[in-house]
């Protein structure tokens, strides 16, 4: 019987109670499959840390006046084109 993903995640995040945690550690000592799953979760956490950093970096405030200005430029050109047809 192997550990489910959520159980391994709980083990990693230390939200598992002490008794279950010890049992899980014993299981991990001899189970290659669960160890591989645990490594995958570690990789996931690195990936998600990068995602969080990216979200923060690319979170730039909107600028309605800049947007309106661009709308104006592109609309003006559309009118010019339509009137020239």
């Amino acid at each position: 019987m192997h550990y489910a993903i959520h159980e391994l995640d709980q083990y990693r995040s230390r939200t598992m109670n002490l008794f279950r945690r010890l049992a899980c550690r014993c299981h991990l000592l001899h189970c290659q499959k669960c160890r591989a799953q645990l490594r995958q979760l570690e990789q996931d956490d690195l990936f998600l840390a990068e995602l969080r950093q990216s979200e923060q970096r690319m979170d730039v405030p909107e600028n309605p006046s800049e947007y309106r200005k661009l709308c104006g430029i592109f609309e003006e050109e559309r009118h010019k084109r339509e009137s020239s047809i």
């Binding site: 489910a4 993903i5 959520h6 995640d9 709980q10 939200t15 979760l41 996931d44 990936f47 998600l48 990068e50 995602l51 969080r52 950093q53 990216s54 979200e55 970096r57 690319m58 979170d59 730039v60 600028n63 800049e66 947007y67 200005k69 661009l70 430029i73 592109f74 050109e77 559309r78």
Partner: protein, 188 residues
């Protein structure tokens, strides 16, 4: 056309599809702003940078078709932003007493910084695509727990689901997100 589950904007650009100015603005504006900050532009100059990049791409027309002979879009966009920023800095320097018209001095690691920012941009785009591809509750659980760092118990209560489901959502969504990132990288 909205680039949703079927096609990303990047894929459309690479395929030479017609791209609308609004779609382009929505997608690349944060990246241009970040780049402007790298070049130490002030906020008015960053507005100017966005406008001049947009105008260079679209030449005042509402859509554009990318010429693939220009090479990889990432490199093309990076060079385009650099030139627009350079023009802004040059015109600022002209107005400053005692400043010559020099090249924009960039640190040696600028290229690697741009590639890192591009990858960060890809990740944020992938997250947007993920939202369109998975069930709403799964996405919310993933976003609250894995991205925003809320406690899984709190997320489970908020979404009226089990804590296990929150962990499973994180694992499934992460795996799907990796695939989307890979797809976006391959589309370049």
């Amino acid at each position: 056309m909205a680039y949703t589950t079927k096609k990303s904007l990047l894929e459309a650009i690479r395929n030479g599809d017609e791209v609308s100015w609004y779609e382009f603005y929505e997608t690349y504006r944060p990246l241009i702003v970040v780049r402007g900050r790298d070049y130490k532009l002030n906020s008015a100059e960053i507005d100017e940078l966005i406008q001049s990049v947009m105008l260079r791409f679209f030449n005042r027309s509402r859509s554009f078709v990318y010429d693939r002979s220009q090479g990889r879009f990432r490199d093309y966009l990076g060079v385009m932003i650099y030139h627009c920023a350079l023009n802004i800095i040059r015109s600022r320097r002209k107005n400053e007493i005692g400043c010559g018209d020099g090249e924009l001095e960039m640190p040696a690691e600028d290229d690697s910084r741009w590639h890192r920012e591009w990858e960060q941009h890809i990740l944020t785009q992938a997250l947007k695509q993920l939202q369109l591809q998975i069930e709403e509750t799964t996405f919310q659980a993933f976003e609250l727990y894995a991205v925003k760092g809320e406690a899984p118990e709190k997320v489970a209560r908020f979404l009226k689901t089990s804590v296990n489901m929150v962990y499973v959502a994180k694992s499934r969504a992460t795996s799907r997100l990796r695939k989307i990132v890979k797809q976006l990288q391959d589309e370049e």
